[in-house]
Assembly symmetry: C2
Homo-oligomer: 313 residues x 2
């Protein structure tokens, strides 16, 4: 989402809170990667995201199966960003009658299979463009509380689950019509992003204090985490994916790596080792300058595209 949408979402949050009241103790509604509600068996995670052809996906550059894959995977990523495990998915699709539903659902089913998140229901409608909305449930490992954006503390270290910018570089390669092997590998990162479920669980087990997935770009998403946690972040290192530019790593978005904070780097290393995962690169450290991001000592602006929403009259 762009900044205009953040404003709209903030207003929606206020309208809903005025009407519905605050969440009960132990629940988190609008404002984190996934909502947390209490169910008889423990916390239930709920996330929903939208993929609109022409807005989030350019069907000249990727196919309907890629769009299907992405629409489910971004929701699984929201569950992963809570330290959770995906449960089940609901899929609604609007599109013109000539939409190749077989191709779209092939990509949805592949992602569903890959992330062990069965599609159990949904709806289908005529509509002017392809709009895929997916809702996903998730659960936490027994006895564990979800990892919110708001738990980071001054002094916590900041990690990311992998190098950044590959998705943006892949989109650039697609737009430039490059089809060498390197370009194809990058393009695959744009068309078929992965959800870091195992990494999210390892971060949780390693004592992470806060976590978010990188959908809007490192700077923007780390900004959300910093504001929610009322800390600043000083970055001294950005791991840039091979073939990507630093600007793409910082602001590109859609990498769906997880960025998390944790007080004890040894515990993080042990936990990722135990899971057979590469140790996550260290980016920097949380400071007391609430909401302020700096890279190499210089202030960092969260960038994004502007999009104005009307609100009332």
């Amino acid at each position: 989402v762009g900044p205009g949408e953040f404003v709209a979402i903030d207003r929606i949050q206020h309208l809903l809170a005025a009407r519905l009241g605050a969440p009960p103790e132990g629940e988190t509604w609008v404002g984190d990667d996934a909502a947390v509600v209490q169910a008889p068996g423990g916390p239930l995670l709920l996330a929903a995201d939208l993929v609109v052809a022409g807005v989030h996906a350019d069907l000249d550059l990727e196919d309907l199966d890629d769009l299907g894959w992405k629409s489910l995977t971004v929701n699984v990523s929201d569950i992963a960003a809570m330290g959770g495990v995906p449960g089940h998915a609901l899929v609604t699709v609007a599109g013109p009658p000539d939409t190749d539903l077989g191709l779209l659902y092939a990509g949805l089913a592949e992602a569903s299979d890959c992330w062990r998140c069965p599609i159990v229901g949904g709806d289908l409608s005529n509509g002017p463009v392809v709009v895929v909305s997916v809702a996903v449930t998730g659960s936490m490992p027994e006895g564990r509380a979800p990892l919110l954006r708001s738990g980071a503390r001054e002094g916590d270290l900041v990690f990311v689950t992998g190098p950044l910018g590959a998705a943006a570089a892949g989109l650039r390669a697609l737009r430039e019509g490059r089809d060498d092997a390197a370009a194809q590998a990058l393009a695959a990162r744009h068309r078929r992003p992965e959800a870091r479920v195992a990494e999210g669980l390892a971060a949780l087990a390693g004592g992470a204090s806060a976590m978010i997935d990188i959908s809007d770009g490192l700077a923007a998403d780390l900004g959300h985490l910093a504001r929610a946690s009322r800390v600043g972040v000083d970055l001294d290192h950005i791991p840039v994916a091979e073939g990507a530019m630093e600007a793409e790593a910082l602001a590109g978005g859609e990498d769906y790596e997880l960025v998390f904070t944790a007080p004890h780097p040894e515990a993080v290393a042990r936990s990722f080792d135990a899971a057979g995962l590469a140790r996550p690169p260290l980016l920097g450290r949380c400071t007391s300058r609430a909401g302020q991001l700096r890279l190499g000592g210089q202030p960092l602006e969260a960038s994004g595209w502007e999009h104005e929403w009307r609100w009332g009259d």
Copy 2:
């Protein structure tokens, strides 16, 4: 959905089953009002429906708050049709930047408040028309199994929770530009349908064997129930709402009353009495003629609009 969409949904169901396998014992995936999955605390109900401006809602005849109300209520109705209680809702909205989100969310919040189903998350995107997709969770009263479409048996009686056709008659009144008191009351039934949660619970408590909500019209929806249960239905009475025509009661759709089958009419009467609800009218009886609907001895065709979907090449 129209018959073309039933075909597409059937194909999707086969594609997903081929890839994901059959649901585990005790779960119901695509094909009922809501999906049933097993969670640590008991069955979890999951439903998702789509409302597209220009397809399901004519914004010349109803406002965005009505569209918001309807998009949440139809999902709560799916939970009610399982004999369940709504839990939480996720809402995704695509629309042009000049969409009045305040009005849309006012209707969503009203419905959320009315059905005690808090909106806990969602997403927002730019898009060419307003598309609202809502996913809702639900739970069953302690120890009770969800009421599927497939449980009706020969000899069971068929009940409906109220007279039918008001929503279709209301749409007609709106199209004709009528604004007398009677027309306004009917129009309200079109713009602000109600979910029969209390009635669904009473049907469950009264020993109902199968249930479905009437979204596509009595004939179409009772046809789904009859096919799923492998019974026929002989109707001898259709309760027509005041101001509606019999054709509207039979095929109008969007009434969101519940139609259910039950073996013991006294138990149904007792249960609705105990809940302080009007006793549901008796429509007819289940027969051994699998999938066949008859009204007054004559075969009844399920009607609906045709809409062709492309499937592969």
